[in-house]
């Protein structure tokens, strides 16, 4: 393995399913956090809804597409669960409530009490046959040089980035409307927006629901890509990583979440590859291969710190917007 392969690998990861899932959930989070200013720390719960909606429906004998739709509906229900009590609270309380609701949902799903319904810690496997049956791409490898994908992976990538594009376009369309303007007003100062006669609560709930449905689709997509759903993927750390992607790309920008997710997974994969290369060749002696998984996220953390210091508005944000402090 040489440096070129490391680079190709990192590029493959940055357009691959992991990046797509974080990009799609990130587009939703960006609507909530970047535009409406909602500190939603439970985005992973919406992903769980999407993943379990798909896998449980197939397990119960239903079609996969119905499962995806049910996952989206479940996301709406969760938005109400978060929203009705919490959206009237101040921003920091919403953060606490969302983080706990997210954890509660994961713990309920993995508990032995609900194992007859949810399969507990085992989750589900091999339920996405339909998704690959409708793949129109003939078998083979696609790409150039060392940058190639199997027809299966390519199908996930095409569908996935297609969904990211549709979601980003929807956000773009919404945010250039008067509705979007109110949402940005809510982010800046919700009392001011109230004093102008707008029902702030409704706007927050709508933003939470739309962003949540996007995350549910991201969850379904991840489930179909890995063909495995386990409750212990859906830790809060996933939400934080989505935040990292959104902030990296630029919160409150249309393309920020997608670019941020790509950049994030590029950094993760590239730093891992380079370190691995260094360890294999004996240049890096103070690390072992077992440390890599942790180290790569430390490097992401470092990149984020540098970004916040030198470019607080993210890769795509407007500079002057980053300089205004209320």
């Amino acid at each position: 393995m040489d440096a070129v392969n490391v680079l190709l690998d990192a590029l493959r990861t940055s357009v691959g399913p992991q990046a797509i899932v974080f990009a799609l959930a990130g587009v939703g989070l960006n609507l909530q956090f970047g535009y409406a200013g909602l500190l939603n720390f439970g985005q992973v719960a919406f992903m769980l809804a999407g993943a379990y909606g798909a896998s449980m429906t197939v397990d119960a004998g239903g079609p996969l597409w119905l499962g995806i739709v049910l996952g989206m509906l479940a996301a709406l229900v969760i938005a109400m669960l978060f929203g009705l009590p919490a959206l009237r609270l101040r921003a920091d309380y919403l953060a606490i409530v969302t983080i706990s609701v997210g954890e509660i949902i994961r713990l309920v799903v993995r508990s032995s009490t609900f194992e007859p319904i949810t399969n507990g810690v085992f989750g589900y496997r091999d339920f996405a046959g339909w998704f690959y049956d409708i793949n129109p791409i003939p078998g083979g490898r696609y790409g150039f040089g060392g940058f190639t994908f199997s027809e299966r992976r390519l199908w996930v990538i095409v569908v996935g980035w297609g969904l990211v594009a549709v979601a980003s376009l929807l956000v773009f369309w919404l945010m250039r409307s008067p509705w979007g303007r109110v949402l940005e007003g809510v982010r800046e100062d919700e009392d001011a927006v109230r004093s102008m006669g707008k029902n702030v609560f409704m706007y927050k709930l709508q933003a939470l629901a739309i962003g949540g449905v996007m995350a549910a689709v991201a969850g379904s997509l991840r489930a179909m890509d890995t063909e495995a759903v386990r409750p212990d993927f859906f830790f809060t750390i996933i939400t934080f990583t989505i935040y990292a992607a959104v902030i990296l790309g630029g919160a409150g920008t249309i393309l920020g979440p997608a670019l941020g997710a790509m950049a994030l997974w590029f950094v993760v994969s590239f730093s891992e590859g380079i370190l691995r290369l260094g360890i294999d060749s004996g240049v890096v002696e103070f690390l072992s291969l077992e440390d890599l998984a942790a180290i790569r996220f430390m490097i992401v953390g470092l990149v984020l710190i540098l970004l916040v210091v030198f470019r607080p508005q993210g890769l795509l944000g407007r500079r002057e917007a980053g300089l205004i402090d209320d």
Binding site: W173, L174, S177, P178, W179, G180, R181, V182, E184, G185, R187, E188, D189, D191, A192, V193, R194, S195, M196, G197, K198, N199, V200, Q206, G252, E320, A321, I324, D326
Partner: protein
């Protein structure tokens, strides 16, 4: 229109000939402290009514309760004949009772124009489903844009229209907030210390703006500490102390009321000049 006020007696809670706002038994306590305990107050339509009183008198809390930003423990109040108590802040604003804030709330990362457009009422594009179809809201938006331009012109903010509101100076933010409140097309406007922290020249221009609003038929209720402004532009003055209305009447009457002087200076002081600031033309003595 404002002359009718000269004929009515100057006792707290006195009925007005044509009240737009009527408050009854409004009570707001923080723990054991009665922040607001207003038994009865009427505000005359189409006038400038100033609310004065020493710090901690409950003026802002009273505003907050009236506009739905705070919940009083008891009391009723009606605006234009319709009851408002128990309503949400946004519903009260929609009824035409619109407020500004003591600490200005410019929407910093929105442009000045967007701040204005956001305030316009009944824009169909602000509904989620209609927002996706520009044809539904394009005309409303264009009309609002014209109106925003007019108002920004009037408040000398046109040159900043495309800038982010966060780049405005403190005085410009006060102007923007007033212009924005007017953009909602209110029938009464509650201004919470519009002159605070504003240089004397701008304060004068704000004062003339406020009088102009009154002359155009708007009811203005004003919290203000600058006594020169209050005495200069008010048609009626209401003085609060310790949550209660202790005096109301035309400016000259309230200014000479011993109860008011007591409230400001303590009971043992003899009546004296209550002006809190030198004339705008002179340099401040600090």
């Amino acid at each position: 229109m404002t002359e009718v006020l000269n004929a009515i007696p100057t006792v707290p809670g006195v009925p007005k000939p044509d009240p737009i706002l009527v408050v009854d038994g409004l009570h707001r306590a923080f723990g054991g402290l009665d922040a607001v305990a207003v038994e009865h107050l009427e505000v005359q339509r189409g006038c400038i009514t100033s609310l004065i009183g020493p710090n901690g008198a409950g003026k802002t809390t009273f505003f907050n309760c009236l506009t739905g930003f705070d919940r009083p423990q008891g009391g009723t109040w009606s605006f234009d004949g319709k009851p408002l108590h128990g309503r949400f802040a946004y519903q009260i604003a929609r009824r035409g009772l619109v407020r500004t804030f003591q600490l200005t709330k410019a929407l910093a990362r929105l442009t000045v124009t967007d701040n204005m457009l956001l305030a316009a009422r009944d824009n169909p594009g602000e509904r989620l489903y209609a927002s996706l179809i520009p044809a539904i809201w394009r005309d409303t938006e264009a009309r609002n844009r014209d109106r925003a331009r007019e108002l920004l012109d009037r408040f000398e903010l046109s040159h900043m229209a495309g800038e982010l509101a966060g780049t405005l100076s403190g005085g410009q933010r006060k102007l923007l907030e007033m212009a924005r409140a007017l953009m909602t097309d209110p029938s009464a406007i509650l201004l919470d210390e519009p002159m605070a922290g504003v240089n004397p020249r701008l304060a004068q221009s704000l004062a003339s703006h406020i009088q102009e609003l009154r002359d155009n038929g708007l009811t203005v209720i004003l919290i203000e500490h600058d006594m020169d402004v209050v005495m200069g532009i008010s048609d009626w003055v209401v003085c609060m102390a310790e949550g209660r209305v202790i005096s109301e009447g035309p400016p000259a009457t309230v200014r000479a009321d011993p109860a008011v002087i007591d409230a400001y200076l303590g009971a043992r002081h003899a009546p004296q000049e209550t002006s809190s600031r030198p004339d705008p033309g002179e340099p401040l003595g600090i």
